[in-house]
C-alpha cells in the first residue's frame, strides 16, 4: 500500500461522509418524492454489478501465488458460490469456502 497517512484518513473520511449521504439521501433530504423507476432498477443491481468484477481477477490470478492460478483457491471460490446459492446464506457460503480453502491448501501441498 503506497498511501500517506493523510491520504488514508482522507479516504476514510470521504467514504464515511459519502456513505452517510447515500443512507441519508431520501430519508433526510429528498423526502417522499418518487424516484424515476429506471434509477431504482439500476440501483438494485449495484452489489451484483460491482463485487463479481472485483473478485474475478483475485480468484483467477491471486497475488499470493504470483498471479498463477491456484487450484486450492479456485476450488474454494467455486464451493463458496455453490453453497451461497444453494443455502441463500452468506454465512454458510463463507464457512464452506474457508473450510474448503484450508482443506484444499493442505491437500494440494500434501500431494
Amino acid at each position: 500500500m503506497s498511501y500517506s497517512n493523510a491520504e488514508i484518513w482522507l479516504i476514510i473520511a470521504l467514504l464515511g461522509v459519502g456513505t452517510f449521504l447515500i443512507r441519508f439521501s431520501f430519508l433526510g433530504l429528498i423526502g417522499d418524492r418518487p424516484m424515476p423507476p429506471i434509477v431504482l432498477k439500476l440501483l438494485r443491481f449495484t452489489p451484483v454489478a460491482v463485487l463479481p468484477g472485483m473478485v474475478a481477477p483475485l480468484v483467477l490470478w491471486p497475488a499470493a501465488t504470483g498471479g498463477v492460478p491456484d487450484p486450492a483457491r479456485l476450488t474454494a471460490a467455486i464451493i463458496t458460490v455453490a453453497v451461497g446459492i444453494w443455502t441463500r446464506s452468506a454465512i454458510w457460503g463463507i464457512m464452506a469456502g474457508i473450510s474448503t480453502l484450508y482443506l484444499a491448501l493442505w491437500a494440494f501441498t500434501a500431494l
Binding site: L15, I22, L27, F45, V48, P52, P62, I98
Partner: protein
C-alpha cells in the same frame, strides 16, 4: 395520559428490535473480526482500521476499499468502488421514507447512520406486518435492531486488529476477502437479470484487467448495471 404509558410501547419496540436483530450477531462477529485482521494485514494502523468501522460502518464497502487500496488504486477509484457498493442503501433510504419520514431530523439522521442491510430488511418487514405502529415505535424498533449489530461491529473489528498480527502467512488471509464477497453475492443471484449482471461484471472486469486498477472495474460495474436493468425490463415485457 402519563408519560410512562406513552413511553412503554416505544421501549418494548426497542427490545423487540434488539431480540429480532440478535441472530445477526452470528454474522457480525466473523465479518467484523475478519475486517480487523485484513485491514491490519494491509498496513492500516489501529486507529485507521477502527476509523473505517466507526465512520463508514458498512461491511462490504470497507472490504472493497481495503482491497482497492491493496492494489494501490487512485484515491478517486477507491472511493468510487466502495461507494458504488453502498449505492443500494439509497434504495433502502427511499423505502424507509413512508414509515419514518415524519420522525424528527436527529432520529432520521441516526437511522441513516445505522442503515445496514439487516436493520433495513428486518425493520421494513416489521413495518409492513404492523401498519398500526407509531412513528416513535418504528424508530425504536429500528434502533433496537441496530443496537444488536453496530456496537459489536466496532468491538469485533478491534479484536480482529489485535488477533491479526498473530496470524501466520500460511493461513492464506489474502483469499478470505474474495470468499466473503463471493458469499455475499451468491444469495443475491435470485433472478436471471442478477445472473446476467454478475456475468457481465466478471467478463468485462477480466477483459479490462490490464487498465490501471479501478478503471476496468468501474466500466464493468456500469455495463453490468445496465445489463441487469435491461434483462429485467425484457423479462417483465415478456410476462406482460
Amino acid at each position: 395520559m402519563t408519560s410512562s404509558t406513552v413511553k412503554a410501547p416505544a421501549k418494548s419496540a426497542y427490545w423487540e428490535g434488539l431480540r429480532d436483530g440478535s441472530p445477526f450477531i452470528l454474522m457480525v462477529v466473523p465479518f467484523a473480526t475478519v475486517f480487523g485482521v485484513v485491514a491490519t494485514d494491509a498496513g492500516l494502523s489501529v486507529a485507521q482500521a477502527m476509523g473505517f468501522s466507526v465512520l463508514v460502518i458498512a461491511g462490504a464497502s470497507q472490504f472493497a476499499a481495503v482491497q482497492m487500496m491493496l492494489e494501490n488504486a487512485g484515491i478517486a477509484f477507491v472511493l468510487l468502488a466502495a461507494l458504488a457498493v453502498n449505492l443500494r442503501m439509497a434504495m433502502y433510504s427511499a423505502a424507509l421514507v413512508p414509515y419514518l419520514g415524519p420522525a424528527p431530523l436527529w432520529k432520521r439522521a441516526l437511522v441513516a447512520y445505522l442503515n445496514f442491510d439487516q436493520s433495513y430488511i428486518l425493520s421494513v418487514t416489521r413495518y409492513e406486518a404492523r401498519p398500526e405502529m407509531s412513528v416513535t415505535d418504528r424508530a425504536a424498533y429500528f434502533f433496537g435492531v441496530a443496537s444488536a449489530i453496530a456496537p459489536l461491529w466496532c468491538a469485533m473489528t478491534l479484536v480482529g486488529i489485535f488477533a491479526g498480527s498473530a496470524i501466520p502467512e500460511s493461513w492464506a488471509l489474502d483469499f478470505i476477502v474474495p470468499i466473503m464477497f463471493l458469499a455475499m453475492v451468491s444469495p443475491m443471484l435470485k433472478s436471471s437479470a442478477h445472473v446476467a449482471a454478475a456475468a457481465v461484471s466478471i467478463i468485462v472486469a477480466l477483459a479490462l484487467v490490464g487498465l490501471p486498477s479501478g478503471i476496468g472495474l468501474l466500466i464493468a460495474a456500469g455495463a453490468a448495471m445496465v445489463t441487469g436493468a435491461l434483462v429485467e425490463t425484457w423479462i417483465e415485457r415478456r410476462k406482460a
